[in-house]
């Protein structure tokens, strides 16, 4: 009996002891039951640079850069404030819109705050990639292209900032300590100088073309075109014209034959696409690789049908009136609430596949 008791007792005491000595380390080693950076190969530089293409569109996960580049804040800054857009579809929703239309937003407003923050987060991602290249002294041709891509994206982000706010802090280095990011505003001219420098580098080092699997990746022509746009904002017409002519003369691009298709899935990366943030990868991908831009300014439906989005960014009457009668671009540009244009649930944009596009050429 006593012997038996001792045995049981020993066994009971043994359980924790065994767990302690042999199992503890293993027992406490719990890796996530889902993907981590340890489980995937993240390229040192190229991975980061490719990530910029996704980050600019990403409104789904951290760091939500897409909120600054194509969500409502972007529409507010670049649509509401313009002369082309006015009240949103829901009359009750007009108040917030109005603050942007009337330039009454403050730095702390949700939209302005996100716009600012996400642009700087994106610039941070660019700077991180450039820092990787600089610290590792990457000089191989592929890395040079990656550097050029990162510089393009940095310029892209700064261009949004400078044309929205004017003077903004210039962060062109990797922030290692949070305090490093507290910089005074730099004059707009200095920001433009950075944009010019970055784009010039990109023009020189980006390829003119990519193999098919990288269709839509940044090219030197994209850099030139974007640079031209940045020059136009400073009335540097001649320089802009030179760059544009280089793009035109490359004969790599041509106007799309059917204007309405530009706004459809099939119009992605078409012949006139020089630089594009794709709206979707393939149908059915949901919002993962989907642009929030389409969703937030899609026409708002009344009662269920023809409900393509949130109805922000409604065109003004003057924009509507500015189209000449019969201009087919109007149907593809302006959709009307509760007035389906037929064909599909997502709108046909008054397409008429039977007839070739009557689009007037712009030359």
């Amino acid at each position: 009996m006593q012997q038996f008791k001792k045995m049981i007792m020993g066994a009971l005491l043994l359980v924790p002891v065994v767990t302690l000595t042999t199992g503890c380390k293993k027992f406490l080693d719990r890796k996530p039951l889902s993907i981590t950076t340890d489980d995937v190969k993240v390229g040192a530089l190229e991975g980061q640079v490719l990530g910029l293409y996704g980050a600019v569109r990403n409104s789904k996960d951290q760091p939500y850069c897409g909120d600054g580049f194509e969500n409502i804040p972007w529409v507010a800054m670049n649509g509401f404030r313009s002369d082309d857009a006015e009240n949103v579809a829901d009359p009750g929703a007009s108040a917030w819109h109005q603050t942007y239309d009337n330039f009454q937003y403050t730095k702390d407003d949700w939209g302005a705050g996100l716009y600012w923050d996400k642009h700087y987060v994106f610039i941070g991602l660019c700077n991180d990639a450039l820092d990787v290249a600089a610290t590792n002294n990457y000089t191989d041709p592929a890395s040079i292209v990656n550097i050029a891509e990162a510089k393009f994206w940095r310029a892209y982000s700064y261009f949004d900032l400078v044309r929205t706010f004017g003077d903004v802090p210039k962060i062109d280095f990797k922030i290692k300590n949070p305090a490093d990011g507290n910089k005074a505003k730099a004059p707009a001219a200095e920001i433009y100088a950075l944009i010019d420098a970055d784009l010039t580098y990109a023009e020189q080092h980006l390829p003119a073309q990519w193999e098919a699997k990288f269709k839509g990746r940044l090219t030197s022509y994209a850099a030139k075109t974007f640079h031209a746009k940045a020059l136009l904002y400073r009335q540097q017409w001649a320089n802009a014209l030179t760059l544009c002519k280089e793009v035109i003369n490359s004969t790599q691009y041509s106007l799309a034959p059917q204007y309405w298709k530009i706004f459809k899935k099939e119009g992605e990366l078409n012949s006139e696409s020089i630089f594009e943030i794709q709206a979707s990868k393939t149908a059915g991908d949901g919002d993962v690789y989907w642009s929030r831009l389409g969703q937030c300014q899609g026409v708002r439906g009344g009662s269920g049908a023809w409900d393509l989005g949130w109805g922000w960014n409604t065109p003004t009457a003057s924009l509507e009136a500015s189209y000449e009668a019969g201009d087919v671009r109007k149907d593809a540009t302006i959709l009307y609430s509760n007035q389906s244009d037929g064909v599909t649930n997502t709108g046909g944009y008054r397409q008429n596949p039977a007839q070739p596009d009557q689009r007037p050429l712009l030359e």
């Binding site: 039951l33 995937v40 996704g54 009454q104 949070p178 949901g286 009662s303 269920g304």
Partner: protein, 1146 residues
């Protein structure tokens, strides 16, 4: 058989000899009994002793130690006698005693064999007592056999204790008086008076300090502890009509602040001694030993007691889970020696009180007309609202002739019911308890209902003197309530929408035949972000099946290795499984603005099903050794243990939807509320996650006291957790606490202070841990998102970006906690009073630092301070045998301050009243940050004469709110914001009065809080993008110069009025009659009924609340950083509940 018996007795002798002297007599008796059988001849034992200048007492002890003689004497009699010198060799007892007791006036007599009685003031012949063997049984007033009761001879230190069945045997002089004492019971004295058999009943002590409280990994008498533990008895919880037991603790415990929710079954917002973190502030719930996140599944009727642990001395033993406090739940067990069947049932009726006041149909129409005109006056192009009002381009407002009180339309008188049956059976070896419970709790919103079925089983088998094994099983099935948001929708819905339905002959949306359908109206175009609240509720409430099963079980082996040393192993498992199924039905609404023939439209044209399977598994094993020892005046309880936990959560969710209207419709039948039924078109997996964590911990505690006067508690725990760090050595963190107490009332200098019966000073300090990491299951493994994958054409190049960066030195938040206080009884223990000052400093808050331009970094940064006082008091007055009154109360003060946060919680200053809360260095957590309203601009002249108002874009007009230019820079901007409110109350309090008259019990509980602010969000600008119904007070809005200086002009577009400001601030103080109950107990019912006693009760909860805000109630739960915000949600609509209850014991 006989041999075995003797063997075990002699073994116990070995043990007993090491025990305190109080046991010596028993030992002698037992030994005597054995030796009668075994041997003879100890009677003439010789004594050799040499002691100089020694107290008589010590000489006697020395003899006891060296011989089999046992002395029975009162310490008083030998005290103060001259010290003696003894030097004897091989002397007989009379030789020694005659010498020692010479000239002391003390005589002695040897009774029986070894029992020696000493008496003062009489000569030996006068000691006429003879030895008697007394056997007896001790039980509680409820008939429960009491084990471990100390039985001693009055005035001496000799005695014994009762065994597991309450029996004792003791040999004493026949004129002795026996004193029976037991922890938690009032002492009783019984004169032996020659009787050889005694039956003794002990009454439970009502003194707070005598209560046995459950502490981590053990129990202790409150008297022996240096911390603050409040025990709440189960009946306090069971008697209230709350499906969640936590709700019943409101205002009952100092330091425990509970903000209730009216959603049936939901967990209230619980904060113990303030808000300690920016992350999780939830206390740890320990249910019969198992660590849990909540106690929602526990049947309130099955709770024996709840202990609330608040101070470092009690909490350090919980390591990383201790910082936010602990709530220990002990479920009911069978009491020894009886069969008891209990049945109780209660039924209640709930009603909405303090309804928020909204505009009625006519008020709304006139306010809307005003606003529409005002918008056009501001901007002629802003005419969409006016078009609606004036029916431009078709019927608008005229199509909605309703005058609806939507809150009335969606609410009802709800019911509450709780029924339980429990059976306790116990024999010498076995104790069994079973409880069955069913309760349902309806919400005020129609169709909202929570159901719970529970079973509690536990059993303890005493295998032998050393071994006990047992198990506990709690099973529950909950039907979780449907939550449509109907009350929120009702507040927003325009009162011009009719509630009624209109009959249309139309196609069945499911595609089968036309028929007459009663359809609800749609909402007007100006509110097209909303739907008709009744339509949503009525069409959807029965389309959801949400069930949660939870099985909690534990088994233990408890071994008394020696009398002092106990070892207990417990293994726990807690499995929860939740299945949620939802169906999206097809239904039509009518649009009254359309021509009659085309009014019907499909609100929903595609069916869908969603299914969620959610599993949680939790396992725990505890190994605890407890050593309890009394050495002279030193009392020691040492405990050491080892525990591991494993937790896993996983969820699988998917949806099935229909692609094309009218094709492959999923039928509206619960049979098909699954993903794989053959109906529907598109199946997709809804992204969810799964995670697990483990902990390994060692812990120890020492409870020590000297003379039950000076107390010392020390505890330590070292926790290793899988989550916090990748590096094995950094997974571990240590926590400790040290406490001391001094029972001054036991000091001789206090013996003159007659009115104080008990006074104890206490202080403790320690380091606690907080298990929170910004909601990250794997803080050291940043989640990665592939949303940043690059897309080139149809080619997807996966790119994985970590969602945040992490600090390689990340560790759990720690709280330096300390308290000082005292406990006192006075005036014949009628008054009990406790007071404590607490101070807690949370360090190394885990935050996601998010500087502009880089990814957020998860790191330790920041600290918070909480401090305050707690007071608890009670007075019991017995007026007569029939009438007694108890008045009790508690009050807690709170002061919270964020000592450091690198960035304010809200980096951008909110322009919206929806987010007026902020946390930043130097201010209380979650404080309201905004402008100070200073009246209304009455005219343009007024505007011109005032500082320029630039808030929310400026552009102020007459009728808008004027704000104070706090920094006097001639401009009103964001720099003119300040702290305008604090959601943390200055103090909370509760008091209770209980009057007993014969068989009547009358109880009243009051609850309240003072000094906090509420931010009212609803009604002003909770949603900027739609027209909602106006609060009734908008009728007092500014319309022309001079007619309002507080409520601004009704025009949503005037954003200047929608910034966080004192306009939204309300006083959160309230006072409430929380519970009122009256009960009558029938005790002497006829035997035939089989009922031992029967209790009938009536009660009412939340009878009346005196409050100062416009919301449903003054209680607004939230998280660490954001609470006290009134969004007008259903959770704050606390009902008044009338109940009737019956409790019968068989």
């Amino acid at each position: 058989m006989k041999k075995n018996g003797t063997g075990s007795v002699s073994q116990s002798i070995l043990i007993y000899q090491k025990v305190a002297r109080i046991m010596k007599l028993t030992v002698a008796m037992l030994l005597f009994a054995c030796l009668q059988v075994a041997a003879k001849g100890h009677g003439q034992e010789r004594i050799t002793l040499k002691m100089n200048d020694t107290e008589i007492r010590k000489v006697l002890f020395a003899i006891e130690k060296k011989s089999e003689y046992r002395f029975l004497f009162s310490e008083e009699s030998v005290k103060g006698k001259p010290k003696v010198n003894v030097d004897v060799t091989q002397a007989t007892l009379p030789e020694v005693l005659d010498r020692v007791l010479a000239n002391t006036g003390i005589s002695y007599k040897v009774l029986g064999t070894n029992l020696v009685v000493l008496k003062e003031g009489v000569n030996a012949d006068a000691i006429i007592s003879s030895e008697i063997r007394v056997t007896g049984k001790v039980s509680s007033s409820t008939g429960e056999a009491l084990a471990g009761v100390s039985v001693s001879v009055k005035g001496t230190r000799t005695g014994t204790t009762t065994d597991a069945n309450g029996n004792f045997t003791i040999s004493v002089p026949d004129d002795a008086v026996l004193v029976f004492t037991s922890v938690g019971y009032e002492s009783v004295e019984v004169a032996v008076a020659g009787k050889s058999s005694l039956t003794v009943t002990l009454k439970q002590s009502e003194k707070v300090q005598d209560a046995v409280v459950v502490i981590g990994y053990g129990t202790a008498t409150k008297r022996d502890l240096t911390g603050s533990i409040t025990k709440v008895k189960g009946d306090v919880i069971a008697s209230q009509p709350n499906s969640n037991p936590l709700s019943s603790l409101q205002s009952k415990v100092a330091g425990l602040n509970i903000i209730n929710s009216a959603i049936p079954g939901s967990t209230p917002d619980v904060r113990i001694r303030g808000t300690v973190s920016v992350g999780s502030i939830r206390p740890v719930y320990i249910i019969d030993g198992l660590f849990s996140d909540n106690m929602d599944f526990v049947n309130p009727s099955e709770i024996e007691s709840v202990e609330v642990l608040k101070d470092p001395s009690s909490l350090a033993i919980f390591g990383i889970k201790g910082a936010a406090g602990a709530i220990l739940v002990t479920t009911k067990r069978a009491k020894a020696g009886q069969l008891n069947i209990n049945f109780n049932t209660s039924y209640g009726s709930k009603a909405l009180v303090d309804k928020i006041q909204l505009a009625n149909g006519d008020q709304f129409r006139s306010l809307l007309t005003f606003e529409a005109n005002n918008r056009v006056a501001d901007d002629p192009s802003n005419n969409s609202l006016l078009s609606f009002v004036n029916n431009v381009g078709g019927p608008g407002m005229s199509a909605f002739p309703g005058n609806t009180d939507w809150i009335d339309a969606v609410t009802r008188k709800a019911k509450f019911s709780n029924t339980n049956l429990s059976i306790d059976g116990s024999s010498e070896r076995n104790r069994f308890h079973m409880g069955l419970g069913y309760s349902y709790d309806e919400g005020l919103v129609k169709h909202v209902r929570y159901d719970r079925l529970t079973i509690n089983l536990n059993d303890e088998l005493r295998v032998n003197k050393y071994w006990k094994i047992g198990f506990t099983l709690i099973g529950s099935k909950e039907n979780l309530p449907y939550n449509s948001g109907a009350l929120e929708n009702a507040r927003r819905a325009l009162p011009i929408i009719p509630t009624g339905t209109k009959t249309f002959r139309t196609q069945n949306p499911y595609g089968i035949d036309s028929a007459n359908f009663d359809l609800y109206s749609t909402t007007p175009i100006i509110q097209n972000s909303e739907t008709n609240p009744l339509a949503t509720l009525e069409y959807n409430w029965d389309k959801k099946v949400d069930t949660r099963y939870r099985v909690y079980g534990s088994g233990y082996v408890d071994i008394n290795i020696t009398k002092d040393l106990n070892f207990r192993s417990t293994w726990y498992g807690d499995l929860s499984f939740r299945e949620n199924r939802e169906y999206t039905p097809l239904y039509n609404l009518y649009d009254p603005t359309q021509p009659a023939a085309s009014q019907v439209f499909a609100k929903n044209s595609l069916t869908a099903v969603r299914q969620d399977l959610i599993n949680t598994k939790s396992f725990q094993q505890d190994y605890v050794a407890t050593y309890k020892k009394r050495i002279g005046e030193h009392n020691l309880t040492a405990m050491a243990g080892f525990t591991t936990t494993y937790f896993k959560y996983d969820q699988l969710s998917g949806s099935l939807s229909q692609k094309t209207p009218g094709v492959n419709i999923i039928p509206d039948d619960e049979r098909f509320y699954y993903l794989n039924t053959g109906f529907g078109d598109i199946k997709s997996i809804i992204p969810t996650n799964q995670n697990e964590y483990t902990t390994v911990s060692g812990f120890g505690r020492l409870l020590y006291n000297y003379k039950s006067k000076y107390f010392l508690n020390a505890s330590f725990r070292r926790d290793g957790s899988s989550q916090i760090n990748r590096d094995y050595s950094k997974k571990f963190q240590s926590f400790w606490a040290l406490g001391a107490a001094w029972e001054i009332s036991k000091e001789s200098f206090m013996s003159n202070v007659k009115f104080i019966n008990y006074l104890k000073l206490k202080a403790s300090t320690g380091l606690l841990g907080n298990f929170t990491a910004q909601g990250k299951a794997y803080p050291a493994y940043p989640t990665i998102s592939s949303s940043a994958s690059a897309v080139f054409g149809d080619n997807l190049i996966p790119v994985y970006v970590p969602d945040y960066l992490f600090d390689p030195n990340l560790h759990w938040e720690t709280v330096n906690s300390s308290e000082v206080g005292f406990e006192a009884d006075a005036f014949n223990s009628r008054l009990h009073f406790e007071a404590a000052y607490y101070y807690k400093k949370t360090k190394d808050l885990i935050v996601l630092l998010e500087p502009a331009g880089i990814l957020p970094t998860l790191t330790n940064n920041g600290s918070i301070e909480n401090k305050g006082m707690e007071f608890t008091g009670s007075w019991t007055q017995k007026f007569s045998k029939d009438l007694s009154l108890t008045v009790g109360g508690n009050l807690t003060t709170y002061k919270n301050k964020v000592l450091h946060l690198e960035y304010p919680a809200r980096k951008t200053i909110s322009s919206s009243e929806q987010t007026p809360d902020q946390a930043q260095t130097g201010f209380p957590i979650g404080f309201f940050y905004g402008l100070v309203a200073d009246g209304i601009y009455q005219s343009y002249a007024d505007i011109l004469a005032s500082p320029v108002n630039t808030i929310n874009g400026g552009g102020v007009k007459p009728g808008d709110l004027k704000y104070k230019d706090l920094n006097s820079d001639g401009k009103i901007d964001d720099n003119d914001r300040q702290m305008i409110g604090d959601p943390t109350p200055d103090f909370t309090y509760g008091f209770t009065t209980s009057l007993k008259y014969k068989s009547f019990d009358l109880g009243i509980d009051f609850a309240g809080c003072y000094g906090n602010e509420i931010y009212r969000v609803w009604g002003t600008s909770e949603q900027k993008n739609s027209v909602y119904n106006y609060p009734a007070y908008y009728t007092e809005g500014w319309t022309a110069a001079g007619n309002s200086n507080w409520v601004p002009i009704v025009n949503q577009n005037h954003l200047v009025n929608r910034a966080p400001s004192t306009y939204g601030i309300e006083d959160g103080s309230y006072f409430r009659i929380r519970n009122l109950s009256l009960a009558y107990t029938f005790v002497n019912l006829p035997k035939v009924t089989g009922i031992k006693n029967l209790r009938l009760s009536v009660g009412v909860q939340n009878l009346k609340t005196w409050k100062n805000n416009l919301g449903y109630s003054p209680e607004f739960a939230g998280g660490a950083l954001s609470y006290g915000l009134d969004f007008g949600g259903a959770g704050s609509a606390l009902p008044r509940i009338f109940t009737f209850g019956l409790n019968a014991n068989f």
